[in-house]
């Protein structure tokens, strides 16, 4: 295969792993050195992901299957890069870059090993996007979760420890469900390689099929807990709002990771054969319930952190609903929505901390639940030194307005385009003419209502924060903190301007996903490199 480019596939896993290892050897007091190693790693990740993304979006048929240890496909573990995973890798790297730069203002100094855990989180997320093996997916998921436990607790304080306790307990239980699902699937299908599974599942005899479907259901529950489907979502707003701002910013990608896995497995394993459409009704109903719950939560929450947490639920729920409808045209709009909402929510989490810095404690206690604010003073890190942003309130206000527009899906930003693409495809005016059914109408109404609710909630908070707080002190915001937020928001602007090419890319991705034989054949036909094992035992070309 074309030389060095093929080895780039494994780079998104190796680079953060190496960086995390190196970071462990640097003393905690050498903050600049640590930050530089971490930043270098993330910048390399952005470059690598961008190259991979360009290769995937190009016309060349790049062979995206990487055989680890040079073992042939069903026996060894494979990494598979396709349009969807390349897009998610790029999204992860960009969100990580913004969060990391943001954390360098002050958050990375409030506890030990921030950068190490950050890198390990990236390794887990990237590995989960790339892997083509169910058990390997579990391992990468655990790497990601273990790092996220540490990151959630970063900064300490009773509130974070309490939220962390719940988060860890829920996710440990989810990991056990994951294992039960994986072993049931292995017991019935006899393989864990996703491509091999996809080929075997249509041929499973009926008595085993039931067990296999039970296994897939249990496995799905594990991901739905992570994605935050109602009623498995009560931990999410608390955990996300308790996390420190840059951590919450990068956590925005985690619930989308679960959505990615569900999308991948459904489109790969349950596209054809007697199990086709497995779980889609469940996803549809669950998604509807999640959107309703998230919308009520958005309207009810007075603290900005919780509002953002519930917005995560709304976007997860919307994606689950659209997945449940199971229509290719809808899903390409959904992919755009996935990217746009991840960027928005990540920027929003980081913006919240800047905005709340300006509110005086007395006013917050009146308006905001005590529980959320009880210990805000203990865990706030010291003010960092650096260039302060001029015209702070104006810039914060503009960013906040952009977030409100994106979350509610108003024109002209990408939130609108994404929702419009989803809705128009469902209404039957898109490329594929589908007459709207009752479920589709429910979905459309809910998507629009959740947007309205987000708009109401954001306007209310915006008025309270930016207009009515006359005596409120102007927050001291560093350039290094506001630039990442503006960077993420400007990415949504790029997505808006370049919506045509972006939609084209996603259409191609969805069309590739819709025929699993592409994936199956790519993995099965991946050839072992000859003569390498004899010479040096290493993978080479």
């Amino acid at each position: 295969m074309n030389g060095w480019a093929h080895h780039l596939i494994i780079a998104p896993i190796l680079v953060p792993l190496l960086a995390a290892a190196v970071l462990l050897f640097i003393d905690e007091r050498q903050r600049v050195a640590k930050a530089m190693v971490s930043l270098t790693s993330v910048v390399i990740l952005v470059c690598v992901s961008f190259v991979l993304f360009r290769i995937e979006s190009g016309p060349s048929d790049f062979e995206g299957v990487y055989l680890l240890g040079n073992w042939a496909a069903p026996f060894g573990i494979v990494l598979v890069l396709d349009g969807l995973s390349a897009m998610m890798l790029l999204l992860t790297a960009l969100v990580a870059l913004a969060s990391l730069v943001y954390s360098m203002a002050r958050w990375h100094t409030v506890g030990a090993h921030f950068h190490t855990m950050f890198q390990l989180l990236l390794m887990g997320v990237d590995g989960a996007f790339l892997t083509g093996d169910l058990f390997n997916l579990f391992v990468f998921f655990e790497v990601m979760l273990a790092a996220s436990y540490g990151l959630l607790l970063h900064g300490s304080g009773p509130l974070r420890v309490k939220a962390g306790l719940h988060y860890i307990a829920v996710n440990l239980a989810a990991a056990l469900l994951f294992l039960i699902g994986v072993s049931l699937i292995y017991g019935t299908a006899g393989t864990l390689n996703m491509a091999d599974l996809a080929a075997r599942i249509p041929q499973i005899e009926p008595d085993r099929r039931m067990l296999m479907e039970a296994g897939a259901g249990v496995l799905g529950i594990a991901f739905l807990i992570k994605a935050g489907m109602w009623p498995l979502c009560f931990w999410l707003p608390t955990a996300y709002s308790a996390a420190s701002a840059p951590v919450a910013g990068v956590f925005a990608i985690l619930s989308k990771l679960a959505i990615y896995v569900i999308l991948r497995l459904i489109m790969l394993l349950f596209e054809t054969g007697p199990s086709a459409g497995f779980g889609s009704t469940f996803l549809l109903i669950g998604g509807i319930a999640t959107v309703v719950f998230g919308t009520i939560g958005v309207l009810a929450s007075q603290a900005l952190g919780r509002l953002a947490g519930y917005s995560v639920l709304v976007s997860s729920g919307t994606l689950l609903m659209v997945l449940g409808i199971n229509d290719g045209a809808v899903s390409s709009g959904a992919l755009l929505y996935l990217v746009s909402s991840t960027l928005t929510i990540s920027a929003f989490f980081m913006l919240i901390e800047l905005v709340e810095r300006g509110q005086d404690a007395g006013a917050s206690v009146l308006t905001v639940t005590m529980e959320v604010y009880g210990d805000a003073d203990d865990d706030e890190p010291q003010e960092g030194d650096g260039v302060t942003m001029p015209g702070t309130m104006a810039i914060l206000g503009i960013c906040f307005a952009a977030c409100a527009i994106l979350l509610s899906g108003l024109p002209p930003l990408s939130g609108f385009i994404a929702k419009f693409a989803m809705l128009s495809a469902m209404m039957g005016t898109g490329a594929i003419g589908v007459p709207p059914t009752a479920a589709v109408w429910t979905l459309i109404v809910l998507v629009i209502l959740s947007g309205v609710a987000a708009l109401i909630a954001m306007t209310r908070v915006g008025i309270r924060t930016f207009w009515s707080s006359i005596e409120g002190t102007v927050p001291r915001v560093l350039v290094i903190e506001i630039v990442p937020v503006m960077f993420l928001l400007s990415l949504t602007l790029v997505l808006t301007v370049q919506a045509g090419p972006a939609m084209q890319y996603m259409d191609t991705t969805i069309r590739t996903l819709a025929s699993p034989e592409n994936y199956i054949n790519a993995v099965r036909n991946a050839t072992v490199l000859k003569g390498v094992a004899d010479s040096n035992g290493q993978g080479g070309d």
């Binding site: 273990a146 607790l153 304080g157 420890v161 309490k162 307990a169 239980a173 039960i180």
Partner: protein, 112 residues
């Protein structure tokens, strides 16, 4: 053999689920450990219960008489990961105990 194994897994799962729904953090961690044992045994059993057969393929052995090596490899990974995460959870539990002065999962002080 299969019956005993199934009953053992079932009882451990039952106890584990009951314990993680209890309000004390210590009960939750014991429950999670029990659930992890149950799941490990479950993974181990999906390869089929066989006694006195090696998982190693050598010339001349019929493949039907072999134990499946994959669940054994999986369970090994699962044990290691489960152990590490339980240890981590224990640390968080102690931190929560220290910060709130209570071993209630919500940090409440009343003994209800």
């Amino acid at each position: 053999m299969e019956i005993i194994l199934s009953i053992a897994i079932g009882v451990m799962t039952f106890c584990g689920v009951w314990l993680i729904l209890r309000p004390r953090t210590y009960q939750v961690i014991v429950g999670l450990s029990l659930l992890a044992y149950a799941v490990n045994l479950f993974i181990f059993s999906v390869g089929g219960v066989k006694t006195n057969v090696p998982p190693v393929l050598v010339d001349g052995t019929a493949t039907a008489s072999l134990a499946d090596p994959v669940p054994q490899a999986l369970v090994l990974t699962a044990i290691v990961i489960g152990f590490a995460t339980t240890a981590l959870f224990l640390v968080v539990l102690l931190a929560s105990r220290g910060l709130t002065g209570s071993d209630h999962v919500d940090g409440r002080s009343d003994p209800s």
